[in-house]
Subunit: 345 residues, 4 copies
């Protein structure tokens, strides 16, 4: 942490700050510039003491130096983290594709959807049983019944299942049925939930909040990691900006920035980050070209009849075309899309 | 809902859309413009069917018409909602001032704080026992012990207490100790929590999310209202924008917009919306001038030693000056600051 | 400037950076923290050399320390700048109110408007002769003919006139007819224009750009000030955010922030910052309560027939009520609205 | 345009609005919904009359229907626009790569740069002679001397030249020396400049403003197109959001959205949209994968010594690697990077 003194700060004021820093057990390095003094504060996480200085006479402002996350940082773990989700590897050279409906609605529709995305090349199945909806009057998900359907379809297809937990008390239930717990964008800073999934030791798909910086996302990951759960996948899903022609703004920069700053795998959700099925394939291609480790895509056999997010869901045949195109892009960046279980046959 | 057809849509395509609308039980009013056809869809909440049309040939886009909230809307309830929080009225001509520490840290410090803000003119006491913190390494609150301290201080001072619930399962505990449940910005769309506070029938202080539109905020209120709990106070606390010289951007426009669109009381939190104690008083004045019904302010007797948010907390003497200035502004807009319990003496 | 080294930087890498700093004629203060080294660079504006370091081995990032503006800064000029605009003082205890139509449309309508706003209490007349319009098909202003009308109305009413220059080559024309040159939000970083108004030595009303930070605004002011023209008034007029219920988001925080960081007068334009006449009065009150030195308001006797911005213009009777309310707010913050010339009679 | 009436509007109020619409020469289609009446207004550009209705009793709000641009719209021109810039085609299957320094600084450095980027595969040379800089104390460009250097280097290399015009009066000078006029982000709504480049009939590279929506960008293009100049290339270069880890946020969604809404070619500038050389190649790949028609990239042989934007410039060898990677991506999306003149040899 650096304490920037005012241009007009007196020597006495500088001394008083230095003394207070020492009194708190930190060391100082003061530099006297052309205009003003700057006091470097050295020690263990000095930024937590910043409020002790902001009201002192002569202090202009405080500048943090260290990044606030550790376990998520590539400064501390150099190698890419890779781990399997029910046998499917994420974070290596292979591109992981997760696909399925926004919400689980019906057993036979789910099975049809799962078989179609698997046939098209998907490695894992997504589908919400608990749905966060901005309107209290909208379909809120099937709850545990939906989880049972997911587990049943996993049994049939062999695909691992990703589904969302909306609160800490749902975590035991979710881990019972699913291979990976999704934390939705609206819950990225639901710290009780982050602690619960951290303790669960289950793989986590952590979605970036609509107004969360990349640093916020890494701090949320830090919550999970601090419980010893290292199997965290970060998901860019669009941020909120002034642009209204798409539902959100895909922060494609976040892909290379995250790959530079953290060792954790990074995927993109082009369904939510665009909000229109017409743009999903183009942005999926962009994500892989930018270095993403995977994709999560909404697919629905009858998007006209979907109870949630039908506007942004792809039909299975378009999804198959997306996977075909992604194979080409993956090759161009020296990666590949592993065969899905069914295509192994 | 309006279905806007493409310029090049054929008559057949228009007919197909109209037929589908009728098949779903809605009525249509089609207008044939210079350039294109527009199909007005009339019925009960037709927007929920929009995904059924976005993929039809010839359809350009869908435009919603109705606002998605009802119970929160001034279109349905014309009169300002007013109600007491432990005897202190909100939503009428009087300005309600809530003050206290960011987090409850210690019994005697809390009591000192409470007595000081009451003396200065505050009507209710704020203080967090459960603290959402962006870092897992930061102070997370005292939990139930903090709630007990709040209840004890309420006993002594007679001031009602506002404190935050971070998850649905904390709601019974919070209602046991506090007079008003705060929903924090990060939990504005934690729908499980909104349902729980709705069912509790306890007064609610609902803070706007950092990236939430005014409509999102009213939809979150709708969750609470839909359980028959009408005692909801909305709180503007700053939104996230590109400006970095303050912690957030106070959306002062939200005050008159909310007063026009909803009957619910509206307060402002200038401590979070600015993030710097130096700007709190100016923005508190602005809020009341713009028509807010109250304020929630962070005060700390020793902000240098606060465990949370010390940078934005006011010392009690500055808070007293703030209340003095607010009295003047309130008068200028034909309102008033009622005496606090202690000043009645 | 601080050069933050990577956690894993070697001593040799730190030395190489230090040597390069010295080679460029700057001094260094290196502090060796728990995790990493930080090299403070001292000298004249070292930030301009930052690109020389970002590619060096072991460098993590660069943190600027000094603010990039000088003449605009309160660090260099402590006292509030005050100056007259054709005899009307700005920047002192009096609140300056500028009002009039968005665009000059017609001589008699302009005169009617001017007399009405003067009667209501305005001190200066606004009105655009050159109009920046987002559509090439919209009314673009009357040009010099409009300027002549403004000058004529000034003659009759005695009110100074504020009007916009859209390019450097219009500046001589504008200064011939008007008392204050407005730089519009879209031109805040039209540096040729800033240089031209700087050289003109004419009073300038500088509007903040839609996506400009407060620092950007002060840097734009610095362009004008660097030509020795000190008569610059800063204008907050709303920034662009994700909120769509108003045309822009009034950054009310900018008022106290600017008053703290610069000695230049600050006014607010609630017509553009809200975009709806219904909210103009509330936000005008908020501006003065927050510490603004003045207001600029769009008024039109027949807003239904305005060729530009009729949606946000006030009718004269509503404007008169606004001035009445502003008098009350001004008093509450220990300021006043001076009588307009006509009301002196 | 749709006029949405209030829920409580009376029949009389609806009639009054309908009458006024007719009086203005438009037709109406009124639909009586469950809650409220909606009046569709049909005719030539009715939105220009919206201010005539917003103050009428019973009116809730106005919803525009038509897009405000015509010549730029794919609704009016279905086929992709393609045209040559000094013999180099843009808008077809070939990917156009423009590269060079941020600013022209020196003749021999410029020539070295040009030969290097040409060797690496670039088709056109960029370089600023007039530089918009946020600080008045920063290097402002060489002016006409810089243009002469660009023309000389074009002579030697045979590469067409792209350079920025900062004001309308510079346009004749720029067209004398350059093959394509760049409009910078800060000038996207400098309407005098847009008119001047429109009249010039010279190819235009139009950069999106930091806070401009996609619709704003298309309206700015409409200014140029309305002068009969159809050779406009749109350039996404990042928008301003709350994210601070990159200089701007690349709006990658804008690529497929623009390709859907307009027939004009679309390129991306990853140097400005990221602001860090480390991320330029990844985002360049993403752009082509998303469907962009070209790239504009900052390259500098000695970025450490660049007078402007050295932080985001690539060295020639990294640029050569970027082009190599782009060839692979182009192929994967069924496009190609045509050989540059030198590589034809």
């Amino acid at each position: 942490m650096m304490i920037i003194m005012k241009v007009e700060a007196t020597d006495k004021q500088v001394e008083a700050v230095v003394e207070k820093v020492h009194a708190l057990g930190f060391e100082t390095h003061t530099s006297q510039g052309e205009e003003r003094s700057i006091i470097g504060v050295v020690g263990n996480n000095p930024i937590t003491a910043q409020h002790q200085f902001v009201r002192m006479l002569g202090v202009d402002r405080i500048v943090p130096i260290s990044r606030p996350y550790k376990l998520a940082s590539r400064e501390f773990i150099k190698e890419d983290s890779t781990f399997p989700i029910d046998g499917v590897e994420i974070g290596g050279k292979g591109i992981l594709i997760i696909a399925g409906p926004c919400a689980v609605e019906d057993r036979s529709l789910l099975l049809e959807n799962a078989l179609a995305v698997q046939e098209a090349g998907a490695h894992a199945l997504r589908g919400g049983a608990f749905k966060p909806r901005s309107s209290p009057y909208a379909f809120q998900g099937l709850g545990e019944k939906g989880l049972e359907m997911l587990a049943e379809v996993r049994e049939i297809t062999g695909m691992p299942v990703v589904t969302e937990a909306m609160s800490a008390d749902q975590v035991p239930l979710i881990t019972k049925y699913a291979d990976m717990i999704q934390i939705g964008a609206r819950n990225m800073q639901n710290f009780n939930l982050l602690n619960a999934v951290g303790e669960s030791q289950h793989p986590v798909l952590l979605k970036r909040g609509l107004a969360s910086t990349i640093e916020d996302l890494l701090m949320a990951a830090e919550y999970v990691l601090s419980h010893g759960n290292r199997r965290v996948v970060l998901c860019e899903r669009g941020i909120r900006t002034f642009e209204t022609s798409t539902r959100n703004t895909t922060d494609i920069n976040a892909i290379p920035v995250l790959k530079a700053q953290t060792h954790l795998p990074v995927v993109l959700d082009p369904s939510h980050s665009t909000g229109h099925w017409q743009y999903v394939t183009a942005i999926a291609r962009a994500a892989i070209a930018a270095g993403a480790d995977g994709l999560i895509i909404e697919v629905h056999p009858k998007p006209d009849e979907a109870l949630s997010d039908g506007v942004q869901s792809l039909k299975p045949e378009r999804f198959a075309e997306l996977v075909r195109q992604i194979r080409g892009i993956a090759e161009a960046v020296d990666r590949y899309v592993p065969p899905s279980k069914v295509t192994k046959k």
